[in-house]
């Protein structure tokens, strides 16, 4: 049901650190990992799972490291992968960057973490805030040795007791990312909004929070069906939120972790007009040149403005001598990514801008055919949500009875925003 051992390997497959949890696999087995991975890659059927001699490797890649789990039995694959990503997350919070260097520099801590985060291959405490309370960089004398914080085994396993702030504040960021996939003919194949509510909580004690949104299901059940509300299609909550309570009466109630975290995410499949629409005309004259005419149109309200807009247009790898012409913003060629980037600092709603680009092409073409990467757009629109979601209230109740201020920000940005090209 679980992981037999965890390995952290460098890019050449050398073991940086390993932890044998169950003693039922030969630790030398890991030498087969990279050859197997390369073999599969060559055959073109690489998956994140590799099978060998009755064992399964499940691995993820982070920077230049492989984090590999070995299982002998019918392990819960979803759990193993989630756990591997969690390891990366915890270590990143401990050492900022995790890479060969930082693993080596902190091998004692890494061992301690691996020991604490999983027992016999079963994930245990993986909240880095809580871990940091008793696994620290300094060596301890036994008399003063840390004890397991109550949070490790408490029902509230994500927050420690006795937190104090002079000023009690909560910041709420409602961030909506727009995912878009448009076909070459300009049809929107898929558009969805992935929203997330991120919180930064600086509150003393054990506060009880309740968040009110203009949730359609809630409004309808309480007879406010007429007010403006949003239908959240799939909501995912941080583990602090009482899920059964939400299921019963759509109340979002929770004791928050300290500091920064993502409270919830949601998804909406509503068909919205693409916020920034791109029309492109690409004329390829084989062996001589390629010309681009890119038109960008903002299709949101005039009151709003998109900031830091970047239109990323793929160009052939062998293109040279770029020439650009645009009325707004600036264009640069990024040969290492084979793209040109058209940046517009500020893009008000209801406008349309044009950019032309010209590249030379070599007379000899390379054998390799290139893919057809899509045009991608990056943007940020503050004070605006596509879905119309609103935070109606955030109630904060703590037994000491302090007053706390919630601050709310709204922002809409691009998610996976792709427009296919010819």
């Amino acid at each position: 049901m679980s992981t037999s051992a965890i390995f952290i390997l460098d890019v050449k497959g050398k073991v940086l650190i390993s932890r044998n949890y169950r003693g039922d696999v030969e630790m030398g087995l890991i030498d087969k990992f990279l050859p197997l991975l390369m073999e599969k890659e060559e055959e073109g059927n690489l998956t994140p799972l590799l099978q060998t001699s009755g064992c399964t490797f499940m691995y993820i890649q982070h920077q230049n490291l492989y984090i590999v789990s070995v299982s002998r039995n019918n392990a819960n694959a979803a759990m193993v992968f989630s756990f591997l990503h969690k390891i990366v997350q915890v270590m990143s919070e401990y050492f900022k960057e995790i890479e060969e260097e930082s693993i080596r520099d902190n091998f004692v801590i890494v061992f301690e973490l691996l020991d604490e985060m999983s027992d016999f291959g079963y994930p245990q405490t993986t909240e880095s805030k809580i871990l940091q309370e008793y696994i620290t960089q300094e060596g301890h004398k036994l008399e003063t040795a840390p004890r397991p914080p109550p949070a490790v085994t408490n029902a509230v396993s994500w927050r420690s007791e006795g937190i104090k702030y002079r000023k009690n504040e909560v910041f709420l960021d409602v961030i909506e990312s727009v995912n878009l996939l448009a076909s070459t003919t300009g049809n929107v194949l898929r558009s969805e909004i992935v929203g997330s509510i991120k919180m930064r909580v600086y509150l003393s004690g054990m506060p009880e929070l309740r968040l009110g949104l203009n949730d359609k299901v809630l409004f309808e059940s309480t007879g406010r069906g007429k007010s403006k509300s949003v239908e959240l299609e799939d909501v995912k909550f941080h583990q602090c939120v009482r899920l059964s309570r939400f299921e019963n009466d759509r109340t979002i109630s929770f004791i928050p972790p300290d500091g920064e975290f993502e409270l919830m995410s949601y998804r909406l499949n509503t068909h919205v007009k693409p916020l920034i629409w791109i029309e492109s005309v690409i004329e390829r004259h084989a062996h001589s040149r390629v010309e681009y005419m890119i038109k960008a149109r903002s299709q949101f309200k005039r009151r709003s403005t998109a900031n830091h807009v970047e239109v990323v247009v793929p160009v052939p790898a062998d293109a040279d001598s770029p020439k650009f012409k645009t009325s707004v913003g600036s264009v640069k060629y990024v040969p290492e990514q084979n793209v040109l980037i058209w940046s517009i600092k500020s893009f008000p709603g209801g406008k349309e801008y044009l950019m032309r680009a010209h590249f030379g092409l070599p007379s000899v073409t390379s054998e390799e055919t290139e893919g057809k990467p899509p045009i991608q757009v990056k943007f940020e629109i503050p004070y605006f949500t596509t879905s119309g979601i609103q935070v109606r209230y955030l109630k904060i109740i703590e037994k000491s009875g302090y007053q706390a201020l919630p601050w709310v920000r709204y922002i809409t940005q691009n998610g996976d925003y792709q427009l296919r090209t010819n």
């Binding site: 993820i60 694959a77 759990m79 992968f81 989630s82 792709q418």
Partner: protein, 929 residues
């Protein structure tokens, strides 16, 4: 300051230097030294020589240092079991430490030291820790019970730890409950009898559901996975469990979501499919599944493989979500391919236009594998959604116009399938296809094109010329193409006998005289004979109407699908294979999962573990036959724990498809099944084998001289090995040829390949008077330390008496290691046979055996070699047999015998080919006994 400095070492006398540092008086220096040792260990250097010195540092007041020493112990204790005992005292003391962190650390580490002697000392501290006041210690102790069970299962049962663990299920702390449940599930899974040691009941499930709301995300996964093994007593209970689990679908952790989906999918089986409850639940399942597609790519992949199962089991859930499976440019290739597969499954008349335009887009991508799959997908759409066939064909024609070599080839392969599915509809495009003849260089594409030409020979004016052009390089073609060409030319001849006689002569000659391939030769001869004796019959055979290919050919076989649904989120669900197909060793086959049934009787609801029981009872046979019958009749999928043969339909197809060739069947048979059908399965199908219940008359080699009196200072030993009632025995005749009495006998075995150790001390009558003989029997258990010997079956024995110690080596017959539970399930046998690489197959000949197949079978059965199937091919009897060694290695074998010919051909296949020779020797000995 960083730890990396510990990795830099002086080369010379490193160990020596560390030793002195470890024994230093200065605490700081000591600590630095331990860190250096651990650093060396981390990079794979052997620092086990420092064991005593490191263990000496264990009694420290520094927590960090203690942890490092513990880590060292875990790594090396196994190699130094005697010295590891030194550490026991400190462990026991630490288990009493006032700091719960240290108590937990000690009990956690002790459980990881897999040394028997240590395990004994673990029991008392563990018992206390299970009742510790601190939940942190209790939750660690709960997992430790599972560790201990893994090392010594009977100890756990004898010491009553299972009951203590059960009590923890009612613990006030949710994390303790979660770990206890994880430990119990693991123990149940490993149970050798196949019967869960701890049964869940309504009360425990209720406690778990309460803890579910409060424990960590991982704990929720343990609990959900455990609930998924529980079968509610009625529909009401199932509903209430569903209601309490549904909120988990909104959890941010993908593992929690998938485990919840597993429970819901399983419990929904117990309810009427059109009940409001089920309809509502189905609606609730779609959004979280879709959201999983925005997780990390690896998690996405697991989710997609599971969605693939869910879509097959309950197509309604995601029927409106086609668009979310559209491929994105930056998806990893494994995600792309899975999405493609699901798209086809979801394709129907209403969304086919969208799907096709997407597929066409993908077919112009650059990734060759992906493009190929996309083209194939178009063909599958055509076959699946009939009204779209025309659209698909024109899309394929467009793609052929691109002249991209591999696109054209794939397109031709799928067009052949479309022709078969819709005969006489699209033949107008044949001329376009013929234009691309020259570009085809892959066997499958060539074969497909040839099939098309042969099939429509009467409409293609120059069919003879085209086929003739292929014939020129006949010898260089692959078998697949040769077979196609042979059949196609025969078809052509039957359609246009006037001008193609020469051609057919030519191909028949090539096939029958110039080829070494038996399949090709045989087919050539059959055609030849048919054509020469009865052309009308030939017509009927060769040009017979082909059976239609079915629409959903790539679906998993229903009983397998049901089993996999019970394993959602696990590796089995990702591999689409039952766990028994890839998990080796204990617990195998003991707990095949089955979906509960709606109105069915209570006993079906149990996860029917009985089939995993000891062999010799032939448990699965009747039910297997029953299952085959229902399958053939197209009966509804029965939730059954017995695997139905997945090849039933394909086997039929092959037979009725007749001579028309393997290739033309391929569209209707997914590759996995096709391979199974090509393998011995066809023969397996009809075979019902009768096995005699296992008798105890297993083969025992005659005694051999092990220790001549001259070498044994008067002690003479002759001996042999036997396996009686599952017990390995060493049987020795000890004779005193000396003048003085002998006494104080003792025996010791060196470490050996199978870990044999004496189960009891050697008993010899004492004193053994001069010229007296004694028949000594030494019981052996395969539970000791393992060390590879050369040959594998070598055993070094030391016998001591009052005179001296005598050493000798003997070779054990392999058959004493053949375990009683070595009967493999038919289907598992097939898939295992396929899974083991051909390189592992070894062939032997066994001479001078004058036994019938049945006699061989029963003889082998007495020695725990189980016949899985018998079939007769061209007068030869083939026996497929399985056996399992006591160390869990499975061995599959094929015995080929011709009546009247005393020479047998034995092919042995196993993942551990080292044992093959020993197996051969054993077979030889058994058959000659």
């Amino acid at each position: 300051m960083t730890d990396s400095k510990y990795f830099t070492t002086t080369k010379k006398g490193e160990i020596f230097e560390l030793k002195s540092e470890l024994n230093s008086e200065k605490k700081e220096k000591k600590r630095e030294a331990v860190k250096k040792v651990i650093a060396s260990m981390t990079v794979g250097k052997d620092v086990s020589a420092l064991f005593p010195d490191v263990v000496n540092c264990m009694q420290t007041d520094n927590l960090e240092l203690k942890k490092l020493v513990y880590l060292y112990l875990m790594n090396y204790a196994k190699s130094q079991p005697d010295m590891a005992i030194m550490a026991v005292n400190t462990f026991v003391k630490d288990c009493e430490d006032p700091n719960p962190l240290i108590r937990a650390l000690a009990v956690r580490t002790m459980g990881c030291i897999r040394v028997d002697k240590i395990t004994e000392y673990l029991c008392e501290p563990l018992r206390k820790c299970l009742k510790d006041e601190d939940p942190y210690v209790r939750k660690t102790a709960a997992v430790c019970v599972a560790k201990l069970h893994d090392i010594n299962a009977s100890l756990v049962e004898d010491q009553g730890f299972l009951d203590q663990l059960k009590e923890l299920l009612s613990d006030s702390n949710p994390m303790v409950v979660a770990n206890a449940v994880a430990a119990l599930s693991e123990i149940n899974e490993a149970s050798s009898s196949g019967v869960p040691l701890v049964e869940m009941n309504t009360q425990t499930i209720n406690k778990l559901l309460t803890a579910l709301n409060e424990c960590t995300e991982w704990g929720q996964v343990f609990i959900l996975d455990s609930i998924s093994n529980y079968s509610p007593k009625d529909e009401r209970e199932a509903q209430s469990i569903c209601e309490r689990i549904t909120p988990r679908l909104a959890h941010a952790n993908a593992a929690v979501v998938l485990s919840a989906v597993k429970v819901l999918m399983k419990l929904m089986e117990m309810m009427a499919p059109d009940a409001d409850f089920v309809v509502n639940l189905s609606k609730k399942l779609a959004p979280p599944l879709v959201t999983l597609l925005s997780s990390e790519p690896e998690v996405q992949y697991v989710a997609l493989r599971n969605i693939n199962l869910i879509v097959q089991k309950r197509p309604d859930i995601l029927k409106n979500e086609m668009k979310v499976f559209f491929v994105k440019y930056n998806d990893p290739i494994y995600v792309k391919l899975e999405k493609l597969d699901i798209m086809i499954r979801l394709a129907n008349q209403s969304n086919i236009a969208q799907v096709l335009s997407e597929l066409k887009e993908y077919a112009t991508e650059v990734d060759v594998d992906f493009v190929r799959k996309a083209v194939r997908a178009i063909g599958r759409c055509a076959i699946k959604v009939e009204p779209s066939a025309e659209r698909c064909v024109s899309t394929l024609l467009d793609l052929i116009q691109t002249k991209v070599n591999y696109v054209v080839q794939e397109a031709i392969v799928v067009i052949k399938d479309i022709f078969r599915k819709y005969p006489n509809r699209y033949e107008s495009i044949i001329s376009t296809l013929c234009e691309n003849l020259d570009t085809l260089d892959e066997p499958e594409a060539r074969g497909s094109m040839i099939w098309i030409i042969g099939e429509y020979a009467e409409r293609i004016d120059n069919a003879d010329e085209l086929l003739e052009s292929f014939l020129e390089g006949f010898q260089d073609e692959s078998t697949q193409v040769q077979l196609q060409l042979l059949t196609a030319i025969v078809k052509l001849f039957l359609k246009r006998p006037a001008d193609t006689q020469e051609l057919v002569q030519q191909v028949l000659t090539l096939a029958t005289q110039d080829s070494d391939n038996p399949d090709l030769r045989d087919r050539g001869f059959i055609y030849w004979r048919l054509l020469s004796t009865d052309p009308a019959a030939a017509r009927e055979v060769v040009l017979a109407d082909k059976p239609l290919i079915s629409e959903e050919t790539d679906l998993l076989e229903p009983s397998l699908l049901d089993e996999l649904v019970c394993h959602i989120a696990s590796l089995a669900s990702v591999y689409h294979k039952p766990p028994s197909a890839f998990v080796e060793g204990r617990g195998l086959g003991s707990s095949r999962r089955a979906l509960p049934t709606r109105s069915g009787s209570q006993d079906i609801l149990e996860s029917s573990p009985t089939h995993g029981e000891r062999s010799g009872v032939i448990p699965t046979q009747e039910s297997l036959i029953g299952d085959l019958l229902t399958m053939d009749l197209g009966g509804p999928p029965v939730a059954s724990s017995v695997p139905a043969a997945p090849f039933a339909s394909s086997g039929l197809d092959l037979l009725s498809g007749g001579l028309d060739g393997l290739l033309s069947d391929s569209p209707s048979v997914p590759p996995q099944q096709a391979a199974a059908a090509a393998a011995p399965s066809v023969g397996l199908l009809g075979d019902i084998f009768g096995l005699a219940p296992s008798a105890s008359a297993s083969y025992i080699a005659p005694k051999q001289m092990w220790l001549p009196a001259a070498r044994g200072k008067g002690l003479e030993i002759t001996g042999t090995f036997s396996r009686r009632n599952g017990q390995i025995q060493m049987e020795m005749t000890m004779t005193n040829r000396a003048m003085q009495p002998m006494m104080q006998f003792a025996v010791q075995l060196n470490k050996n390949s199978f870990g044999l150790v004496p189960a009891a001390p050697l008993h010899v009558v004492s004193p053994l008077a001069p010229n007296q003989s004694y028949e000594a029997v030494l019981l052996l258990n395969p539970t000791g330390p393992v060390q590879r010997m050369e040959p594998l079956t070598n055993l070094q024995v030391a016998i001591k008496n009052n005179i001296d110690v005598f050493y000798f080596a003997v070779v054990m017959p392999m058959n004493i290691f053949f375990a009683e539970d070595g009967q493999m399930d038919k289907r598992v046998f097939l898939s295992t046979w396929k899974d083991i690489p051909a390189a592992n197959e070894v062939q032997y000949t066994i001479n001078n055996v004058n036994l019938s197949a049945d006699a061989v079978s029963s003889k082998m059965q007495q020695n725990n070699v189980f016949t899985i199937a018998k079939r007769n091919v061209e007068g030869q009897d083939m026996l497929y047999q399985s056996l399992k060694l006591v160390n869990g290695i499975w061995i599959l074998s094929e015995l080929k015998m011709q009546p009247g010919n005393p020479t047998l051909i034995l092919a042995v296949k196993t993942r551990a080919p080292d044992v093959s020779t020993g197996v051969n020797t054993a077979f030889d000995a058994i058959l000659h006994s």
